[in-house]
Every structure is written in structure tokens, then in C-alpha cells.
């Protein structure tokens, strides 16, 4: 492959994984904006999408029903995490919520490990595979599907948040929970909805990427973290997160391709740390010298 084609190939794979990071980042944002909780089970939602689809396929169900069931199950699990693990805490603090979601992530991971074993699993392609050649590099229909799903998700969510009453209620709650409840918005229901939505979207991300990168009980951690990086760097809003996710995927793809695949995962985290440090420096404008 010519060097130019290599670059294109890395870009393609970068955009593909970047789309996943963007989707996962959106899952983090939805919950964080509305509830202020950093939900560390987000990565596990992605894992569940792929793994549960594999489980249902193995039980003999067709592809489409398996996918739907997997998404539904993950939505349910997201709601369970909120209801059973987070809601009962009497005096929730940031630290408590973080520790609980980390614990819940461990539980989900462990249960999948027990029931499905530790090997990586493959699920078949979701749409008929065709390879298209672009500028000397190869892009598969599967990859196009991933990017397409991201686009649909981004547009759909933005319509939802801006045009529908429910979406606006969510945004209101994100800005001012007390005020929202005072005007009659049932916050508890909205929170449940957010967790379910994040679960569903995460599962979708996990399902579309599984045919490309395989799936296994432990993919949740890194994928989740990279989605978090996208959300943080993107400033938690939708456009920012999507752009940050794609950008992150690109940087990762090029770095992994040309410099070192082993260190690839570290790039995302390094970006996040440097961004956070940069933010503290640029925020010291005298508002709070403490």
C-alpha cells in the first residue's frame, strides 16, 4: 500500500473508532448533564450491546431480534443501575456516586465473564459486507454503517432535545433541577429515562462496532474511558463531544498506525489529562484565587 493509502486507511479506521467514542461520549453527557453523575457503567453498556447480541444469537434467535433484545436488555440494566444502586443512597455525594457506578461496572463485567467466558467473541456483519476502495484504501460497508449510525444518532438526539417537549424538559432539568421540579417536571422519571437512553445508545454503539473489533467481557473499560475523554474535551455538549470523539479517533488511528500500536490506548488518556490541566490554567482569571 502506498504511504498515502496507508494514511487514508488509518484515517478511516480512526474515524470509525472515533464514531464509537463520540457515541459513548454522548452517553456520558446525557447522564452527566441531567444528573451530575459520572456514570462509570457507560463503558459496560457498550460491552453489553455486543455480548448480549452474541448470547442471543447463540440461543438461535435471528440477527434483528437479537439486536433488539440486546438493546432492550441494556436499557433495562441501565435503569436497574439507577434504581437499585444509585437511588437508595441517602446522602449522595459525588464520591459516593462515582464509587457506586464503578462497583456496578465491576459487577456487570464479572457477571458477563462468569456466564460467557473470557474469550473474545465475534458477531456476524450486520449488513452485507462489501469493500469499497477509496484512494487506495479500503472501506467496508460495516464502517460506513458505524459512521451512519453516529450521524443518525447525532441528528436524532439534537432534534429530540430541541424540538420535543420531553427533550426540552430534559434540558431544563440539566440547567436547574430545582426549578424544573417546581414547574412540574417529574425529575425522577427523567432521570430513569436518561439512564435507559444512555444504556440503549451505548448498546447500539457496541453492536455496530462488534463485527469490526470483536467484543469481549473487558472492552468496557477502555471504550468507556475514551468516550469519557470525548465528553470532557468536548465540553459535555453534543456537538463538542461528537467532534472530540472523532478527533480523538483520528489522532489515535494515526498515532497507532505510524508510531506505536501498543501505546495507542494511552493517547486518549494523555489528551484528557493535558486538556484538564490546560483548563485549570486558563480558568485562573482571578475569579477564584483560592
Amino acid at each position: 500500500m502506498t504511504p498515502f493509502a496507508e494514511i487514508i486507511q488509518y484515517i478511516i479506521s480512526g474515524v470509525t473508532s472515533g464514531s464509537i467514542y463520540a457515541m459513548v461520549g454522548v452517553c456520558w453527557s446525557i447522564i452527566f448533564l441531567v444528573t451530575g453523575i459520572m456514570n462509570f457503567t457507560t463503558g459496560e453498556f457498550v460491552m453489553l450491546g455486543g455480548m448480549l447480541t452474541w448470547v442471543f444469537l447463540g440461543a438461535g434467535i435471528g440477527l434483528a431480534p437479537a439486536v433488539i433484545l440486546a438493546i432492550a436488555a441494556t436499557v433495562a440494566i441501565g435503569i436497574i443501575v439507577e434504581r437499585l444502586a444509585l437511588r437508595p443512597v441517602r446522602y449522595p455525594s459525588e464520591m459516593t456516586n462515582m464509587v457506586i457506578t464503578i462497583a456496578a461496572a465491576s459487577i456487570i463485567k464479572g457477571i458477563i465473564l462468569i456466564t460467557c467466558g473470557s474469550e473474545t467473541r465475534v458477531i456476524q456483519a450486520l449488513i452485507p459486507v462489501k469493500q469499497i476502495s477509496i484512494l487506495g484504501a479500503i472501506i467496508t460497508t460495516q464502517t460506513i454503517l458505524v459512521i451512519g449510525v453516529l450521524a443518525v444518532m447525532a441528528i436524532g438526539l439534537s432534534l429530540f432535545f430541541n424540538r420535543t417537549l420531553f427533550g426540552k424538559a430534559l434540558r431544563a432539568t440539566a440547567i436547574n433541577p430545582k426549578g424544573a421540579s417546581l414547574v412540574g417536571i417529574r425529575i425522577n422519571i427523567l432521570i430513569v429515562f436518561c439512564f435507559g437512553l444512555a444504556g440503549g445508545l451505548g448498546a447500539i454503539a457496541g453492536i455496530v462496532i462488534a463485527p469490526i473489533t470483536f467484543t469481549g467481557y473487558n472492552i468496557g473499560l477502555m471504550t468507556g474511558m475514551k468516550g469519557l475523554v470525548a465528553a470532557i474535551v468536548g465540553g459535555w455538549n453534543m456537538t463538542g463531544t461528537v467532534l472530540a470523539g472523532l478527533g480523538l479517533g483520528l489522532i489515535e488511528g494515526l498515532f497507532g498506525g505510524f508510531i506505536s500500536p501498543g501505546w495507542k490506548d494511552a493517547i486518549a488518556l494523555l489528551v484528557m489529562i493535558l486538556f484538564l490541566i490546560y483548563r485549570t490554567i486558563s480558568f485562573s482569571d482571578g475569579v477564584n484565587k483560592v
Partner: protein
């Protein structure tokens, strides 16, 4: 209700602003904006050593912001603050404490994980030096210093009359006592200048009496006081001069009587239709 027997503004310090050399605190054209809100706008005045100044104004006038700017929690966008001739405008809050400016808070801001005595001991932080190593190894120097701080803190608590509650938790104290603990704590830095943010807010009559007694004691010790308050009788009875803030701007400055009769002040509090 003037509950103190001796009007506190009878002292000989009746003039503010005799120039930079004799004043303790110089505030020069201080302005501070938060997003769309101009919290402080071109505020200028000076405070002389040994005086008792009150700042009043409607809610949201910028009084607490002013205290935050002087004590280093915020840096002003424009303007300068000088303490004893030294420019402290950009100094961080903890450095300003070392210079001798203390403050209390409208919402007390006590430390609930510490006992009353420990709260007062944190106040004495600037009066001690032992660091992590000497404390961790319990060196003799650390032990002596700890004992000394404990005694100083107890003295401060005794002055406000709460030494018997030294080992109690903060949450067990009523509001009036919590405010006094806040004062005792601020006294730990042995301040030359003490800023009290609404010390009488929410207090019952007997608690205000106690507060006035404590302020008496502080005045007699030669402390310069700056009190932000809403409680008019309290302000009138303890202050020598009053500064009125409205919408971030200083609108009037004068003796309590002058200010009380001033039309602009009345308008500011009651609105235009008076």
C-alpha cells in the same frame, strides 16, 4: 434597639480618608464584573486605623463581593486595594490572612468535621509553623507549638464566652453561638483589621446583645472593624461611619445620622415611590 450602654462612635477617630499614610485600608476604584452583572463599580474609600465602619445596602448590592475582593477571594477587574500602604490586590487569600486581615462569613462557613476548639485552632494557623514532618514525627517543637495554639484558641473562645463548649461539635450549637465561633476563629490570626459579614443576621435579641458585647471587647483591643449589616439599629449604634452600597456603587458615605436621613439611601432601600 440600642442595647449597648456607651455609643461606640464616641471615639476620637471621626475622619476617614486623611490620605494614604494614615489609613489602614485604601480601596481605589475597585470594580468587579461577573458575566453580565457588574457587582462592584468604581468603589473608592479609605479606612483609618481604630475606626468602626459599617457597610449597608439592599440585597445584591455587592457587599459580600466587596469583602471577597478585599480578602483575596476574588481579584477585581479594575482598581487597587492597599493595606497599610502595601498593594494587596492580587495577593491570594491565605497571604492576606498572614498580613492581618480577618473576616467572618454570612453563612458562618464553620468546619463541621472539627470540634469548636479545633475550629478556633485552625484560626491560629498563621501563628504556627510546624509542617507535616515535625507533626508526623511528633517532634518536641511540634508538641510545644500545638500546646500554645490550643491555649490561644481557648483564650479566643473564652473571650466570646464559649470555652465550655470547646469539645462540642459545630452542629450542636445554635446560630448565635456559631456566629460567635466564627468570630473567635477569625481572631486566631490576631488581625489588625476584621471584616464581619452580617454578624447579626438571623440572631435573636439576647444573641445580638452578646454580639455587641463582643464587638465592644474587640474595639477596646484596638481592632479596626468593618461590618456589613442589614440590621439598622445595630449599625446605627456601633458604627462611627457608614458606607452605603447600591448596585455595586458607593452612593453615600457619612455618619450614621447623616446616612439615615439621606434621600438616596431611602430610595435605594424602599424603591422610587417613597
Amino acid at each position: 434597639m440600642n442595647t449597648s450602654k456607651v455609643p461606640l462612635h464616641n471615639s476620637k477617630h471621626h475622619n476617614i480618608g486623611l490620605g494614604r499614610n494614615s489609613s489602614l485600608l485604601d480601596v481605589d476604584r475597585v470594580s468587579k464584573r461577573f458575566g453580565g452583572i457588574q457587582a462592584l463599580n468604581d468603589v473608592t474609600f479609605s479606612i483609618e486605623q481604630g475606626s468602626i465602619i459599617s457597610m449597608i445596602g439592599p440585597n445584591g448590592a455587592g457587599k459580600s463581593t466587596f469583602i471577597n475582593v478585599v480578602t483575596g477571594i476574588y481579584a477585581p477587574d479594575i482598581g487597587q486595594v492597599c493595606f497599610q500602604g502595601q498593594d494587596i490586590t492580587r495577593l491570594p487569600a491565605h497571604a492576606i490572612a498572614y498580613l492581618g486581615i480577618g473576616r467572618t462569613f454570612q453563612l458562618e462557613e464553620l468546619f463541621p468535621s472539627l470540634t469548636v476548639l479545633e475550629n478556633a485552632m485552625v484560626g491560629c494557623h498563621t501563628r504556627s509553623r510546624c509542617g507535616m514532618f515535625s507533626s508526623g514525627l511528633r517532634l518536641p517543637s511540634a508538641k510545644t507549638e500545638e500546646q500554645r495554639i490550643r491555649e490561644e484558641a481557648m483564650e479566643n473562645l473564652t473571650m466570646i464566652g464559649l470555652e465550655h463548649k470547646a469539645s462540642d461539635s459545630i452542629s450542636s450549637l445554635p446560630l448565635g453561638e456559631r456566629k460567635l465561633v466564627g468570630i473567635a476563629r477569625a481572631l486566631g490570626i490576631q488581625p489588625k483589621f476584621l471584616m464581619l459579614d452580617e454578624p447579626a443576621g438571623g440572631l435573636a435579641a439576647h444573641e445580638i446583645e452578646k454580639l455587641v458585647k463582643v464587638i465592644d471587647i474587640l474595639v477596646n483591643k484596638g481592632l479596626t472593624l468593618f461590618i456589613v449589616e442589614h440590621n439598622m439599629p445595630f449599625v446605627m449604634s456601633v458604627s462611627q461611619r457608614v458606607i452605603v452600597l447600591d448596585g455595586g456603587q458607593k452612593i453615600v458615605e457619612g455618619t450614621p445620622h447623616e446616612v439615615k436621613a439621606n434621600e438616596r439611601v431611602i430610595k435605594a432601600y424602599l424603591g422610587e415611590e417613597v
